[in-house]
């Protein structure tokens, strides 16, 4: 039964992805992306990554997507009826066809890689039910991977500073 759920969620995720690309308005894209994230969260759950599913929902869907919503609202270009900035048919222009070819190429590369990577069959007994044990993750995060952890924290700090500098309305020279 859970396999069926998995495939359903996979389809939803892919449809969400397509929605992001071909939706008429950014608002549409945001919503389809949210859908895709929820599908992925469910897949994580099925795969045994409960903590990751939670994080996915909380951080990704909750924080990042909300941020996108804010920006769209802020710049009030999210309305369903907004000018259809997407050119008539995204795939007509030559460039887009190349892009499609490139995307297909990358995807194909991934599939072939998986195909030839002779992954160990998980036939025997299947994956354990629960993989991301919080303790072990914490131990790893503050033990072996403490350096990347610190690095990421610095990254976040710089991001905040950058965002403040970039997005703050320049009163003095905003005139020119």
């Amino acid at each position: 039964m859970s396999e069926l759920l998995f495939y359903a969620m996979a389809v939803i995720a892919l449809l969400g992805g397509l929605g992001v690309i071909f939706s008429k308005s950014p608002m549409g894209s945001v919503l389809s992306l949210l859908g895709s994230f929820f599908a992925l969260a469910v897949i994580y759950l099925l795969a045994g990554f409960h903590f990751m599913a939670a994080v996915q929902i909380l951080v990704y869907a909750g924080a990042i997507m909300v941020l996108f919503l804010f920006v769209i609202m802020l710049l009030n270009l999210g309305g369903m009826g907004t000018r259809f900035e997407l050119s008539a048919a995204p795939l007509t222009r030559a460039r887009s066809q190349i892009a499609a070819a490139v995307a297909a190429g990358v995807g194909l590369a991934g599939l072939i890689a998986v195909q030839r990577a002779s992954l160990p069959r998980i036939a025997q007994g299947g994956a354990p039910e629960r993989i991301d044990d919080i303790n072990q993750i914490a131990i790893a995060l503050f033990g072996r991977y403490s350096l990347p952890f610190q690095a990421v924290s610095v990254l976040l700090l710089t991001t905040m500073v950058a965002v403040l500098v970039l997005a703050k309305r320049r009163t003095r020279e905003s005139g020119q």
Binding site: R95, I98, A99, A103, G105, L108, A109, G110
Partner: protein
Amino acid sequence: MLPPPSHAWLWWIPLLPLIGSALCGALHLATLSARKRDPQAKGLAGLAPLIACAAMAGALALAVKGFLDLRALDAAARVLNSPAWEWITVGDPRQPWFDVDLRLVLDPLSSTLGLVITGVGLLIHIYASGYMKGDAGYAKFFAYLNLFVFAMLMLVLSSSLLGVFVGWEGVGLCSYLLIGFWYEKGWPAEAAQKAFITNRVGDACFLIGSFLLLRLFGTLDMHEIVARMGSDFRLDAIDENVKLNIALAALFLFGGCCGKSAQMPLFTWLPDAMAGPTPVSALIHAATMVTSGIYLVVRLNPLFASSPAVMTLISGVGVATALIGGSTALVQRDIKKVLAYSTVSQLGYMFLGLGTGAFGAAVFHLVTHAFFKALLFLGAGSVIHGMHEEQDMHKMGGLRKHMPQTFATFLAGAAALSGLPLMSGFFSKDEILAHTFNSGGVYYAFWIVGVLTAAMTAYYTWRMVALTFFGPERFDHHHVHPHESPAVMTVPLMVLAVLSVLGGVLGLPPVFHAAHALNDWLAPVVAPGVAILNQLHPHEHLSHATEWVLLGLGAAVALAFAHTGFRTYAAGPEPDLAIGRGAPGVAAFLGDAWSIDSAYSRVVILPLRVFAFVVRFIVDQVVIDGLVNGAGSLAKNLALRARGMASGQLDAYALWMGGGAAVISLWWMWS
């Protein structure tokens, strides 16, 4: 090789004129600023002729001393050597790869020529001190003249071929400087350049000849080469290849002689060389420089004798040049041009003599020619001096009354040149013709042309005398007042006149049962060549009867054509104008030395000049430079096109990135 006793004083013969030249040069430079203010200022420069003549007198004295010393020695060992001076040594001095030691050697040949150079040279220096009186570059002129004599003496005296080449190019340089002496007039500079470059062509051949000799004999010392080809040299003993090399060396050396002695292919510079002052023409283009070619052939007589083909070529070229020179002189209006072409013609005679193996006869004609041709040139100079730079004979006439001494000496010279009986010219020219007649085969044809040219010589000589000194006075009287030249000019004329008349005594034909002084004197020098010639085809002496016939024929031809020449022009230049109207084509053709000179400029100089411009504009600018700049602009264009990629379109960048990622991942997959 016998250990030569060394005579250091020999070095003084060339060094004296060199010092004279340096002093005169210094005088000229010292008085340069003085003359800048007032061109006529004489000042110290007036001393120049004294210094120059003193140097010449010194050289003459030493030459005479050398001559006397040589006479004291017995015939076979008549050689005086000077200490050698290492000029160039390649490799360590003990056994060098290649070394050149300059050594002066006085032997009968070089002493004869030395005497001619210094003797006639001194007379010309004295003459020039009068002739060049008013000229601004007075001291400079004598500096050049002395430098020329130094170079000529080096050429004649030095034993190494390279020493000869130093003199060879030195005289070329001095003739360049002296022809272009009045350079502000413009065309003398062109004539000087033409002379130098034509000589240079000859010198290039000379160099190739010297390289061949160096390869053949391993040394450049002429006396050693002659010695090695002398005593036991069996012509048939040497193999083909060496014989070919000897012939080539002789040919190229003869090429050098053609350049210097104005023979057939390279004679066009001599008539233009008349642009220089007349004493220059007398000294360089009559008596000395042009004879260096003959000297070289006589010096290396075994080399030339051992290649019969080259000997015949020399005679052929000689007689051809004689014919061209003679025929052109017939129609010349300028008195110096007549004498110039006459010189070309007489030189042709000398080479004709050399070709037949009559080395002594050629030197004899050289000596007598030096006397009478220098006399005629100086005479012409005195006429021009009197006529205030007028050189066109059609504007002269009846000068015998105004210039008696010049007229008398000029007559003597003309008689000698035209070969009137008992004159020096008669004996020397006929000796050559006799030898040509005696050599048989193709030389018969040469003999006929020789006699024809002798006739022409007599004709144009007396045409010149008639036009200049006889007939109506064709110059306008208020501008031109012909006057006799001062003593300092006429005395040398008289001395030369005596020499021209009595010169014949040096080489009386055997018929007169008197010793042929010059041949005996030169016998040891010429022996190796004559020996080889005898090996080739031993020729018997002419019988007395044929000799008398030849002498009579020569005298008759000379007298007849001299008379007709004089008679037609005694009344003035009308016959010239008649020929001009009657056969303008022939007159023009002859007038321009068979239009060889214009042929050269059309066939040789013009294509080379065009080729030079092709090299500059096409080959250099377009092809090579094009490639270089092309490489530069190619890089620039590539860069421009690459810049197009950075179009500022974000998605274009994204595309390139994506494309790159795709390609790499796919390639990674497949590899």
